[in-house]
Amino acid sequence: MSVQNLNTFDPFADEGDPLGDSQDVGSQADYIHIRIQQRNGRKTLTTLQGLPKQYDTKKILKAFKKEFACNGTLVEDEKLGQVIQLQGDQRAKISNFLIENGIDKSTIKVHGF
């Protein structure tokens, strides 16, 4: 018979390195990053990086372009995968769009000034 209370559990057992098993301490893997870059004059470029895999970036790009009335492109990056580039500062609009479409706000990080 097994009584749950009688199970031995050593509360002082060594748990091991708290950081040992998690590779992504301080990593940005699970965030959606929205960044801005300056171009010449008062032009800017917005990049959206780290969109979860289950979303179709092409369709999202199309929706962005239509919604924000701007051009944009899909850039393949060898490390970061597909990145959406949009013309102009679309950071607020992108984050609103994503939140409205059911992406958790806490996973979105807006960078830039």
């Binding site: 301080g26 300056q38 990049t47 990086q49």
Partner: protein
């Protein structure tokens, strides 16, 4: 280079003239319910509003300015909690909520956002709203009539209490004599009044009713702050201030961040770390010149740099546990750890990663360079 955010924010300008102030409040926004009380004095005069509801005006002022600012900023809660007026906005929301617990109606939550002309949210509110409006505009006669009618319709109180009200006019704590339905919005009204009230003329002295908890609480804080003003400044106004970044333009396409070394010293951070963060956040590059100034490629305004610095402070300077800026950043096994000097907590912080950098400018330049 101007960003798309509204640049001309009066509150921002007003506040940021001298120093960049970071509020450090270990207990959070709700720690001191009456902390904003001293503000009432200044802002009522500034405001010139007819609303004389104690803390109302000050908060209203704070809120109206704070709201604009809130829209422009998309930062997280931590960030918001740090800065003065934003924090006050938060606090303002907190106060009515507390009272809401007492009263049991939704009045307090609705009214603070509307101020002198509150929205009508429920039947009960009808009455209180009108009451409040009239009260603020000091139209006693109209108020009495209205209130009287309403009372007859809604609460069917004894006529004596209505007369009572007639006599007292603005002093609404007397409504305590009314029945429970009325009592609902009453503490709310009381709480507005006593903040400005000095010791000696509390509302309950005129009547034989019992004083309520919020009244006593405000009285306590009023006398406490009156007795030792130093407590007031240290509890609610203890701020972490750094000099604002001084940004100059060098030529057409470069900005110079002149006092970065001072700011880094103030924050106890390595300039390299700060610079790395700045560059990765702003998606640009730059260099440090001979005088220790940072030359940033691209046109940036002081406000923009300040925003990025604020984010740096939230992320890498203030302790997440106790909000103290007194922290040390050390690197162990390629991971940065932030140890708090005041509370002893220790946590890892995100590594600075620049992320995706789009191709900007001529391709031929990047090929050769």
């Amino acid at each position: 280079m101007a960003s798309e955010e509204p640049l001309f924010d009066p509150s921002l300008k007003k506040r940021k003239k001298k120093t960049v102030a970071f509020t450090e409040d270990p207990l959070g926004a709700e720690a001191d319910p009456t902390a904003p009380a001293p503000d009432t004095i200044e802002s009522t005069t500034v405001n010139g509003d007819a609303v004389n509801l104690g803390p109302k005006t000050a908060h209203e002022l704070m809120k109206s300015t704070g709201d604009e600012e809130g829209e422009t900023k998309k930062e997280d809660e931590d960030y918001k909690a740090m800065f003065g007026d934003l924090k006050k906005k938060k606090k303002k929301k907190e106060i009515p909520l507390d009272l809401g617990d007492d009263s049991g109606t939704s009045t307090p939550t609705a009214a603070p956002s509307e101020g002198a002309a509150p929205a009508i949210t429920s039947e009960d509110l009808d009455f209180s709203d009108i009451k409040k409006k009239k009260k603020s505009s000091k139209k006693k006669a109209a108020f009495d009539l209205d209130a009287f009618e309403k009372e007859l319709n809604e609460t069917k109180t004894k006529s004596s209490t209505a007369e009572d009200e007639d006599d007292e006019g603005d002093v609404n704590p007397n409504l305590d004599h009314l029945d429970d339905a009325d009592l609902g919005d009453d503490p709310f009204a009381q709480a507005d009044a006593p903040v400005g009230v000095e010791a000696g003329n509390e509302a309950w002295l005129k009547s034989d009713r019992d004083y309520t908890y919020p009244e006593l609480l405000t009285r306590f804080y009023a006398s406490l702050h009156a007795a030792n003003p130093s407590l007031l400044s240290s509890s609610s106004q203890k701020r972490y201030t750094i000099a604002p970044p001084s940004i100059h333009r060098e030529g057409n396409k470069k900005s110079i961040f002149a006092n970065i070394s001072d700011i880094c010293k103030k924050m106890h951070r390595q300039p390299e770390h700060v610079i790395q963060f700045l560059f990765s956040e702003m998606g640009t590059t730059g260099s440090v010149d001979g005088a220790g100034r940072l030359v940033i490629k691209g046109r940036f305004q002081q406000k923009q740099i300040e925003n990025v610095l604020r984010r740096y402070i939230v992320e890498y300077v203030t302790c997440k546990t106790c909000k103290s800026p007194d922290t040390l950043l050390t690197k162990e096994n390629r991971i940065f750890f932030m140890a708090c000097e005041s509370c002893g907590s220790r946590r890892s912080v995100n590594a600075i990663k620049s992320g995706f950098q789009a191709q900007v400018g001529k391709r031929s330049k990047t090929k050769t360079g």
